[in-house]
Symmetry: C2
Subunit: 328 residues, 2 copies
């Protein structure tokens, strides 16, 4: 029998989850829940239903795991604790600073209902966190570095779009090659914000807007751009659609450390991702952890977990025996 999955929210992430489920024969998408008019939401899976979110309680006995695909700013802090009262749930909450409080809220709800919850699943937080954690445990004497990109930052793209005179914009975060080279060489550099990443913006202007003014407004924007070296390119709407419709991302997690009685030997652990589609990769991680959530639930576990708490084998459809024989 397959693991029966529900998706709450059908944006890029929800659609990615739908695609990922198709790659996992032990899982089945049963329903997509939406706040929009269900008639207007066209999904890809013929055998699944689109339902209004108000009807979700009717599915209480018919879903094994609910994958919550809302945004971290306002959706997930409400949705994940709320639906943990009804379902085993999983989300990709990614506001790093607020993870502890989100964890507490979801943990309390899930413990009360006897459900399993897994939060902050994806690649950062998620696979990057795991790699930081493993590397720290293995090399206690060392230094961590995380670089992001080359990839589209939704937050920074939105910030540019809010500037008067900007019709559309995409912002790419780019790791500085020189910094990466220094870390890889074991130089353990102390890097400023500017030394780690550059930012590149592609902007479509409203008719009559002044490019010099827009460029100045971008480059001096506090928090988002002022501390970075930023390049701005003005392009046409056609070029935007043709060259910047994808949502690639990626990055690097490195730990540079030493071993030996006097720290005489150096080691470098590096993990990197090059992703054509940020939301689809995040979705693929979510679906693997949905399998883990299902198994934890089968064992009667209740409360909230993160990627740190879950045995790797729980993510795989293969048995322990198969895994030991083929991948160990």
């Amino acid at each position: 029998m397959s693991i029966r999955i529900g998706i709450l929210g059908y944006g890029n992430l929800g659609r990615g989850v739908e695609c990922a489920i198709r790659q996992n024969p032990d899982m089945e998408l049963k329903a997509v829940f939406t706040r929009r008019n269900p008639e207007a939401v066209k999904i890809l899976t013929n055998t699944a239903k689109v339902c209004p979110v108000e009807s979700i309680e009717d599915w209480k006995e018919n879903l094994d795991v609910l994958i919550i695909c809302g945004g971290s700013a306002t959706d997930l802090p409400v949705q994940t604790p709320k639906y943990a009262e009804l379902f085993h749930v999983i989300d990709s909450f990614d506001t790093h600073a607020k993870i502890p409080e989100h964890f507490e809220a979801v943990d309390a709800a899930a413990k009360k209902s006897g459900k399993t919850a897994v939060i902050s699943v994806g690649w950062d937080p998620g696979m990057f966190s795991l790699n930081r954690m493993y590397a720290n445990a293995i090399l206690p004497q060392g230094k961590d570095y995380t670089f992001w990109g080359r990839g589209v930052s939704q937050g920074h793209s939105d910030a540019v779009r809010r500037i008067s005179g900007v019709k559309d914009a995409k912002q790419y975060t780019i790791p500085v090659e020189r910094a990466l080279t220094s870390v890889r060489a074991g130089e353990n550099p102390d890097l400023t914000t500017r030394e780690k990443h550059t930012r590149e913006c592609f902007v479509v202007l409203e008719e009559g807007a002044d490019p010099a003014k827009v460029e100045e407004a971008i480059k001096t924007m506090p928090n988002y751009f002022a501390d970075y070296d930023t390049t701005v390119h003005f392009i046409t709407e056609e070029e935007m659609i043709r060259d910047h419709s994808r949502i690639p991302h990626g990055g690097f997690v490195l730990r540079s450390g030493v071993t030996g009685w006097e720290g005489e030997n150096h080691h470098l652990i590096e993990y990197s991702l090059k992703l054509d589609s940020n939301p689809e990769f995040t979705s693929s991680v979510l679906v693997a952890y949905a399998r883990a959530a299902y198994r934890l639930a089968q064992e009667g576990m209740s409360g909230c977990k993160t990627v740190f708490d879950i045995p790797p084998a729980y993510l795989s459809a293969k048995s322990g025996e198969e895994l030991r024989a083929s991948l160990l």
Copy 2:
């Protein structure tokens, strides 16, 4: 109270474990057990004892975890099941093809005694296996690649040393850059043995030995060298000591896969290690998993586990709360 560790076998690996314990304030080395005359074994830790292996049973109540640092060919298949009768144990058994039978033997012994055992801990098997497994679970449609090096292969160095006329030898395994580039480009190449790695040998000849004959013997050696492009350098004993005394290693684990409804988006997951000291890095992984073994034992777990079965957080000295706040 610290986790009390015993080391069985004091070669490069045992010494590496001793050094790694020093970096972990929650652990304490209590004793090193040796088959040699204990008087002849000088260790670095003043507060630990060197004992004959015959006396190990006297330590039954005084060690939390025994880290077994023997070789995979003949030591570990005997030692790990044997000492799992007395202690919570951990080893770095690395003969991939024999892991399933080693697992069964250790699991049976540990279940009988009610002890916790963890086998095949290190980087391959170990961290590389984990990365293969995570990447497979996340990207079910994809292809795996593992490259080793640049690093010293003990087995290949030994094979060269057994050739008549060879006084000393070191063999380096080197990944082929062209193959790595192709994998990273998402080309999903089918690679032959020769296309993945080259081999480089540094050889000190016995007086009067014929270099041409030795080179021929190396390059045509079945299994070890015949299927590879091999370079042979003849050097002096002084050069061997000066330039080839370290035991570096490393490698790359990659998974190239696709997501999307029609597999339209490509993703690359890459994990790599650059290690100055192969045994010291392996030891550092062993010590982190010794902490995990201790915790599993505290929970009353008995039987054999591998890296696939152990929640990542069990490796870290930090609490779940600290980990979520600092590394997630």
